[in-house]
Amino acid sequence: MGRGTIFRLTFWKLVFLFLMAAGLYATFLRFTQGLGASTHLSDQFPWGIWISFDVLCGVMLAAGGFTLTATVHILNIKRMHSIIRPTILTAFLGYVLVCVALMYDLGKPYNIWHPLIMRNPHSVMFEVAYCVMLYTTVLALEFSPIVLERFNLQRPLKIVKKILIPLVICGVILSTLHQSSLGTLYLIMPEKLHPFWYSPLLPVFFFLSAIAVGLAMTIFESSMSAKHFGLQLELPVLEELGRVLVVVLGVYGILRLEDLWNRGALKLAFHPGYETSLFWLEISLAIILPLILLSQPRVRSSPKGLYFSAVLVVLGFITNRMNVSITGFEGSTGVRYFPKWSELAVTGMIIGAGFALFGLAVKYLPIFPKEELAHETASEPAEIVPVTAGVLEHAGD
């Protein structure tokens, strides 16, 4: 803990305060002047960054929650248990923030509950609304043991632990449904979406990439937490995640290539242009570079290599979601969309709030095992074993 850390903290606090101030002012604009004055949305471009980033990317970035709970509780791979709490925390925060962002984007946010009683089962949006609502509830319950433990509420804790497995199964099913459905949303617009991104396989792509990003985010988070909270890095666990990530990315890459080939869109990839550049940016960041890096054991076993590859995957698939929802529509609508400052400010505020809430939760709730927080200096990976065993004692969250 030298001077560097203190300066860093104040710097990030400043950034945070700036984001909050700008975001609050933008919030004021949004709810007093309406969508027209606070966004660059138009009749030609009705969905902007609040849908593309805050909702599509937000849901995708929170995918670690269902990926890891399935791994630990269903596949019973217990050595992943040490990282499950921070992952569930991220997922829960992610979904809450997605709902917050929706309140900005919806023209009439006070009607957000309408899908509860006004049902249209033919609508993908209806399905997504239901799944997100139910899954946020599931995540709240999966997260609740952490809070209940903190306040030592044994009775409700027992109940939640009893229904944990059905909860996890519900969570995985709901996630599979809405992660893929965010892709299904775009299936109805074959004429509007650019052939690089329109594909009958969109639901499959969205689901597979959610798993990839879920894994990458888990690596990213663990590395960040290790750095900022002085925790022991669970390197062997992350290495394993890296290995699975290679498989998922490989499957995704092959499917994507095959699909582009079948639809005859692959030849378009060699005509220079706006869409082509962004397409290659996405493919290189999300698939090519991480595959090259992570397929080498040398990279997988180095914390830096893993971290860097995970960041690439996350950035790559953020680019993918932006491409599907923004770049892919600029051709057919004939307008270029770039968010207004207030749209960016709201998004920035939401991201800032996410980081701050994560920090607060780590500070006040038993997110990381006590043994780890007490850990002073980084040491041999072999020492993780007793720590992990300690975590297993309070298994069942």
């Binding site: 138009s42 050595r79 949006m125 995985v172 109805i188 004429e191």
Partner: protein, 258 residues
């Protein structure tokens, strides 16, 4: 028994009375400035486009199987048996999926309002229900916009194409586009001239999403059983290992692998 509109561009004189009647019907302001706008918007639900001496009308196509009604999560947009695709603003939550999904990009939004609505031509559902023609068809002085039974209007359009093939592009726009629409168009010049896409699918688009959605009722129980089964197997394996007295701490270390 479904009603429709037939617009014949060769009869249109560009008087824009349909625009004005439409504004009155929908209680929207209409003045010279609005008349000058050659695009649909939240305050102009139909417009007459002109290219030289050729005209074309734009309005909601009121599709037979509308994407907008299919994607609306709360059923604010509905296809009625009579033909009109109606909108109920009290249900709408403003997700704007209809705007994104519409193959003709018809629905428009009141961006400037704090409590905004989607706006589009809804084919005068109240008038149609009373057996009257739409406001635009009623006012049209030349019969360019004609209201009637969809089947009869199709026959009429085919007759016009057959009788005067030289006057028209040989295509009834809306007969087959996205599975057919309640607005049929005849034009003297290619439809692309006025921004109508002719490369549009002949199949109704809602099937594209419903094909996927319809698997959900099967997926939920099957997925639940598969996951439950997996859980049972992995935990049974652990129990067996415990019962056989195998070293469990190393088992835990290696997880469920082998």
């Amino acid at each position: 028994m479904s009603k429709a509109l037939l617009y014949d561009s060769t009869l249109c004189i560009g008087c824009k009375q349909c625009e004005q009647a439409c504004a009155t019907q929908n209680k929207l302001d209409y003045n010279d400035a609005v008349a000058g706008e050659e695009y649909q918007s939240a305050h102009k639900l139909t417009c007459i486009l002109s290219r030289g001496d050729k005209f074309m009308r734009r309005l909601c196509m009121n599709c037979q199987e509308p994407s907008c009604a299919s994607v609306c999560p709360v059923g604010a947009l509905k296809k009625t048996a009579l033909g009109p695709v109606t909108y109920d603003p009290s249900k709408c939550m403003g997700c704007r999926y209809c705007m994104v999904a519409c193959p003709f990009s018809v629905p428009k939004y009141e961006w400037g309002k704090l409590i905004p609505k989607v706006q589009k031509c809804v084919m005068c559902p109240d008038r149609v229900a009373q057996g009257k023609a739409t406001a635009c068809a009623e006012i049209c002085p030349t019969g360019a916009t004609k209201f009637g039974e969809r089947d009869e209007l199709i026959a009429e359009a085919q007759k016009r194409l057959h009788d005067n093939p030289g006057n028209y592009v040989s295509h009834i726009y809306g007969l087959e586009e996205v599975g057919g629409t309640s607005v049929l168009l005849l034009s003297a010049v290619p439809f692309e001239t006025f921004g109508y896409r002719t490369d549009i699918s002949k199949d109704p688009l809602p099937m594209l999403t419903y094909r996927v959605l319809s698997h959900i009722p099967d997926f939920v129980p099957l997925g639940g059983m598969a996951l439950g089964g997996l859980w049972w197997i992995t935990h049974r394996r652990e129990e067996v290992a415990l019962a056989e007295g195998r070293q469990t701490s190393s088992e835990k270390k290696n997880g469920g692998k082998r």
